[in-house]
Symmetry: C2
Subunit: 367 residues, 2 copies
């Protein structure tokens, strides 16, 4: 059995339990997770009886044959409605769908084609499965962890090479550094950067999600780099903050505090831990030093086929950690107008110590 077939069976069990005859999976990443298909249009009709149907359009006939062998293939430009019609013709009673993915217009289209296709017979009833596939995706299997390891290794290596070559020096612009980091990750085998690389220096480092611009790196400034690589569809996510030249006392202090908070957050990653407790473990360290108001975002998030996915590790988060979850731990302190520090790793929750995937040193690197 392929990995994807095992995943479909886990979803099937959930669907059967919910009394569904079939599920129409439309979220493209969920489709990829359940079938292995990497094209830009595809959907899955998962059936309680096990005879699943994969749908795509004519551009992907060959690719679907290679990536989704063994499933019945339906080729139609209007892929999702065509799969719904197929479900109706198969006599589906209760049809699950992803209400967080299907748009209002999309639902109207589905309702229309189901009514038309069921002429005489019963119209299938559409029932939301909510985020059932995302819930499965939160826990990674071995192949997924392997891809995440490689994605993290590419990011580690790219930063190491740039630092070794002196590319992170005063006089260069944020944009130059960001583009070189991106190009280096691609050269090392990434499909793409995980997201728009953040390079923030000086006062810009106090902006949590600063977009790199023409600002020039200057001696004595913080340089915050938040970036990642995508490998086999899986995203890495890492932040490091360096100092260019001499680190002032306030920079040392803020940096040490974030290091301590980040270590506390990592130490709290355990199977069964409430995500709010994990968030608090890091946040309390920062708050105790009087910087609570300067840590303005959640502690971390799941990472996988999406750069942000379940679970959310935040004060307003919900749920508990499980073995195999891939998460970030990324506290920060931002002093508006002065500068900021964030330190972020990607890790895997295990029954023992979490596995650290981003291996770049967290010592304050003074370049």
């Amino acid at each position: 059995m392929t990995r994807e077939a095992g995943r479909r069976d886990r979803l099937r069990a959930t669907a059967v339990e919910a009394g569904l005859d079939a599920v129409l999976v439309t979220n493209l990443l969920n489709v990829r997770y359940l079938t292995g298909f990497t094209g830009s249009n595809g959907a899955l009709l998962l059936r309680a009886d096990g005879d699943d149907v994969f749908g795509t359009d004519g551009r992907y006939t060959t690719q679907a044959g290679v990536q989704v062998p063994g499933l019945e293939l339906l080729i139609d430009r209007a892929t999702v409605p065509a799969l719904a019609v197929r479900a109706a013709h198969l006599g589906t009673g209760r049809l699950g769908y992803e209400s967080h993915d299907v748009t209002v217009d999309g639902l109207h289209t589905l309702e229309g084609v189901l009514a038309d296709a069921a002429t005489g017979g019963t119209v299938p009833e559409l029932v939301s499965i909510r985020r059932a596939v995302e819930t499965l995706r939160a826990v990674k299997d071995d192949a997924e962890v392997q891809a995440l390891r490689r994605a993290c290794a590419v990011a580690d290596q790219a930063l190491a090479e740039l630092a070794a070559e002196g590319a992170l020096r005063p006089g260069r612009s944020e944009l130059q550094v960001g583009r070189e980091l991106d190009a280096r990750m691609l050269a090392l085998g990434a499909e793409a950067p995980s997201f728009e690389t953040i390079v923030a220096t000086g006062a810009n480092s106090a902006i949590p999600h600063h977009r790199p611009d023409g600002t020039v790196l200057a001696g004595g400034d913080f340089l915050k780099l938040d970036f990642g690589a995508t490998v086999d569809g899986y995203h890495s996510d890492m932040t490091r903050t360096l100092v260019l030249g001499h680190a002032a006392d306030w920079q040392q202090e803020v940096y040490s505090l974030v290091v301590a908070a980040q270590a506390a957050g990592r130490a709290a990653l355990a199977v069964g831990a409430d995500v709010r407790v994990v968030d608090a473990a890091a946040r309390n360290v920062i708050a105790a030093a009087g910087h609570g108001e300067h840590f303005t975002h959640g502690l971390g998030h799941g990472v996988g086929l999406e750069i942000h996915e379940a679970p959310s590790i935040a004060a307003a988060g919900e749920g508990r950690l499980a073995a195999g979850m891939a998460v970030t731990v990324e506290p920060g302190i931002y002093l508006p107008g002065h500068g900021g520090v964030r330190i972020e790793d990607t890790l895997i929750v295990t029954d023992g110590e979490p596995e650290l995937l981003t291996l770049t040193s967290k010592e304050l690197l003074v370049l």
Copy 2:
């Protein structure tokens, strides 16, 4: 008045005509088009009376201040519901929304917060504005055309450099070539490739959307490159097909036919032309030569903030061309198991000749 303010006023006129008091714009590219905001979370409450409200979350407070000056700023993690609440408090009667963007779950959330916020008063009525913003976006203004010109120039330059350096030679793999093309575009100032670059050689060139793999370039094979660069958010799109070494007679023939079809398609780009007539102009050339069944996709598509946007130039398309539309013209002939040719340009429709933005030669390049 900024460009974005002018665009908002055009949407406002449409909204007023439709009897709406306000419009909640949620599609992130539409929000960018109407406000200039480039972050990953933002929405716009456009009001008939002109007092628009821009919403985002705390990560983007600074960025919103810079990119969206002059608009009231609402910072809330639950951005879209918060803007809906604001609309209710402002006494909005009919509230437009994007039913092709809002999900079923999103609509339920909106309905819930509107009912709660209107305690005692009238609950705002949600009315779809359909693709009103996309319709505006189909016609580009000068700044958009400038960005498209730069995006096309980056793609032209990247390919020219790779060819000049001998990077497109037998023995190299599709993946290597694709990654170098991507890296070169980034080095030349692209924010990202426009889409996953297609590099297809030999029999793979017969697959319209082949994903580059380890296949090695060999003498006598076609090499099809479909790629583009994103600059200031705007996408270029170009396909060129080369021959490595000696071109066989059948390759010359197929290539010449696609060149002729592509020229016919470009010649048909005129203000007021029905998109189906434009598609037919190119398709007829290929069909007349007996290859109709080997041209398996539409002739072209609009391009801008999205790689595929309105208008669709296809046999099943609708509507007419207007001055300022940015479109691709990309006929192809695919001979399964043998090889295929596609030639694609990005152009601007004008009152006179269309402006060609992708300037790489369409002579058969034999490397």
